[in-house]
């Protein structure tokens, strides 16, 4: 009697595994289906090459570039904040800090990623922007700089935790050989450990960048809703994600074109992050193989 019951359980477990595959296909299907409706009207050419995104105008234009530059701009500012800080902190934690202090610092850093992003957005709007305006009076109330900086802190734990793991996985004999040659601790970290852990660190950076591209609440609250083709960090812009929020908040006819635009934009965002995530995954897999 045991065997058929076991088969049934195994089948149920298998179904839930299959469910994860179905989920991916459903996400892609939902995006494609609605985006298809959009591209039938607008055409892929205009979407990919257009430099104006004005869906609410009398003569609407649907060129994705303003949204793309807005998304890239905030994500790049976040990377410029998080990369140097994250790299130095992970070198410190992996090569210099003692175990006790590391065990305090790591969970403290990880807490940064447990904070809801809407809280970061709030802080960007009411604290960081006014503080920056004190130094740069030309900064607009909504801008790319402040949410970018705050986003840098949000993605910091991704960089520190993955790259610290990668650095600590570098075999000790490499370090010892360098020390034996009279290298200082920093030279060991910068010239030996970091290059050996390069794939792991790059994987962390790419993953963090992908997270920054998809981040929504910080930019929706603090970066404004003005799609502009600019890399000027002091003016209001719009990212792909905050456009989706803007449409979702309004009263949109759910069979109309505007409703479909958010799926087209979502599809773009999905493809971009999908490519980056897989690159990161591949690099990490290669790093693990190298360490073996």
């Amino acid at each position: 009697m045991r065997r058929p019951a076991e088969k049934l359980i195994e089948g149920l477990l298998g179904l839930s595994s299959l469910f994860t595959l179905l989920l991916t296909f459903t996400v892609i299907g939902v995006l494609m289906y609605n985006a298809w409706g959009f591209f039938e009207v607008i055409g892929l050419g205009e979407f990919l090459t257009g430099t104006r995104w004005t869906p609410f105008f009398e003569n609407p234009a649907f060129g994705m570039w303003p949204l793309l530059t807005g998304t890239l701009l905030t994500a790049l500012i976040a990377m410029f904040t998080a990369l140097p800080l994250g790299l130095l902190i992970s070198i410190y934690l992996s090569e210099y800090a003692n175990a006790t202090w590391r065990n305090v610092a790591r969970p403290a850093l990880d807490l940064l990623s447990a904070i809801p992003t809407v809280v970061y957005g709030f802080l960007a709007l009411v604290f960081v922007t006014p503080a920056l305006q004190y130094f740069f009076p030309a900064l607009e109330r909504f801008n790319a700089l402040s949410p970018g900086l705050v986003m840098g802190f949000m993605i910091l734990p991704i960089i520190t935790s993955i790259s610290e793991d990668a650095m600590r996985a570098v075999p000790a004999n490499l370090r010892e050989a360098a020390f034996a040659m009279g290298a200082s601790r920093w030279q060991v970290a910068w010239r030996v450990v970091l290059p050996s852990a390069f794939n792991g660190v790059t994987a962390a950076v790419i993953l963090a960048f992908s997270r920054a591209l998809g981040e929504t609440m910080i930019v929706s609250i603090a970066a404004g809703q003005q799609p502009q083709l600019t890399f000027n960090p002091s003016v209001a812009i719009q990212t792909a994600s905050s456009y989706i929020i803007q449409i979702s908040l309004g009263d949109v006819d759910r069979s109309g074109l505007e409703y479909k635009t958010i799926f087209a934009v979502g599809l773009g965002l999905f493809l971009l992050t999908f490519a980056l995530n897989n690159l990161s995954y591949w690099l990490r897999a290669r790093f693990k193989q190298q360490q073996r």
Binding site: G14, T20, A97, V119, G214, T216, R254
Partner: protein, 298 residues
């Protein structure tokens, strides 16, 4: 461009080396300073929110509904909405994620299938939360006609955190010593008996800790819920899973984006409540995990 980078790398190299040789491991001090800098900024921001929000935390704030007058506005529907979502996400993602985790870790024997499923889960984990919102909008709200309800919201968030539960389950099962499994097999237990009576009980605290972290992540999300249609004003206490809803992060968003600055006090106060809730759950998860690690390693 390349030469600039090369120069930069060399400069950093020289600077770090110089610090180290000045005093034994001199960079250690700077590393400490950088780490403390991040901690200090975060603590500073928390202090700022606490000072701004604390005066608003009174009975009226916890028992009130949304209002046009900031002093009278409260978080009752949002708080209850968050509790609803918390419970439902737990109920949905726990069985589904644990089942898939067990299957992946103990049953999939073909390497190619295992790899496919693993890559797929990594990809699911990397999809931006707002895209899950689009999935929820088209599939749960419209396709399954659940409407803009608590149930649709919880299903959407459950899909979003599913990879976290699966990964936690797999890691917890991997921590179970091989000797336990082998002993059970040696006594004639079947595969499922071994998992159900021996592996799962040992792995359970690890799994629960992972699910708690997943739920924490879910109750902090606002973006997917705004997409599927969370509303700013809920004039009643949500009583069923088909009611329309708001949750704390959504309420914070609406207050933070209001032009009147006195609503910022409300947003700060709501942030304090949300942070208390997430930090509490987080701490609980970490404590459970630590105690479990000690037990399973001994």
């Amino acid at each position: 461009m390349n030469r600039v980078f090369l120069r930069l790398f060399k400069a950093i190299d020289a600077a770090g080396d110089w610090y180290d040789r000045q005093r034994g491991d001199g960079f250690a001090l700077y590393g400490l300073v950088f780490t403390l800098f991040v901690v200090a900024i975060v603590l500073g921001l928390f202090t700022y929110v606490s000072i701004a929000g604390f005066p608003r935390l009174g009975t009226r704030f916890f028992t009130g509904f949304a209002s046009r007058i900031p002093e009278q506005a409260g978080i009752l529907p949002a708080f209850l909405g968050t509790l609803w979502v918390m419970a439902l996400v737990f109920l949905i993602s726990f069985p589904l994620g644990v089942a898939a985790g067990i299957h992946l870790e103990r049953y999939v024997s073909q390497r190619r299938l295992a790899r496919l499923l693993e890559v797929n889960i990594t990809n699911l984990a990397g999809i931006p939360s707002i895209v899950y919102g689009l999935l929820g909008l088209q599939f749960f709200v419209r396709g399954l006609a659940l409407g803009e309800s608590i149930l649709a919201a919880s299903l959407t968030l459950s899909m979003m955190v599913l990879p976290l539960v699966i990964v936690a389950t797999r890691e917890a099962l991997r921590m179970v010593p091989g000797s336990v499994t082998e002993a059970a097999y040696a006594l004639g237990a079947t595969k499922w008996q071994t998992i159900w009576y021996h592996a799962l009980p040992l792995a359970f605290p690890g799994i629960i800790s992972g699910v708690l972290l997943a739920v924490t992540r879910a109750i902090g999300e606002a973006a997917p819920l705004l997409v599927i249609g969370a509303v700013a004003f809920v004039p009643f206490v949500p009583a069923s899973v088909f009611d329309y809803f708001t949750v704390l992060p959504v309420q914070i968003f609406f207050w933070a984006t209001k032009p009147q600055s006195s609503f910022l006090i409300n947003a700060s106060a709501a942030i304090l409540v949300l942070l208390a809730l997430t930090l509490l759950l987080n701490l609980l998860a970490v404590r459970i995990r630590e105690r479990w690690h000690k037990r399973i390693e001994s």
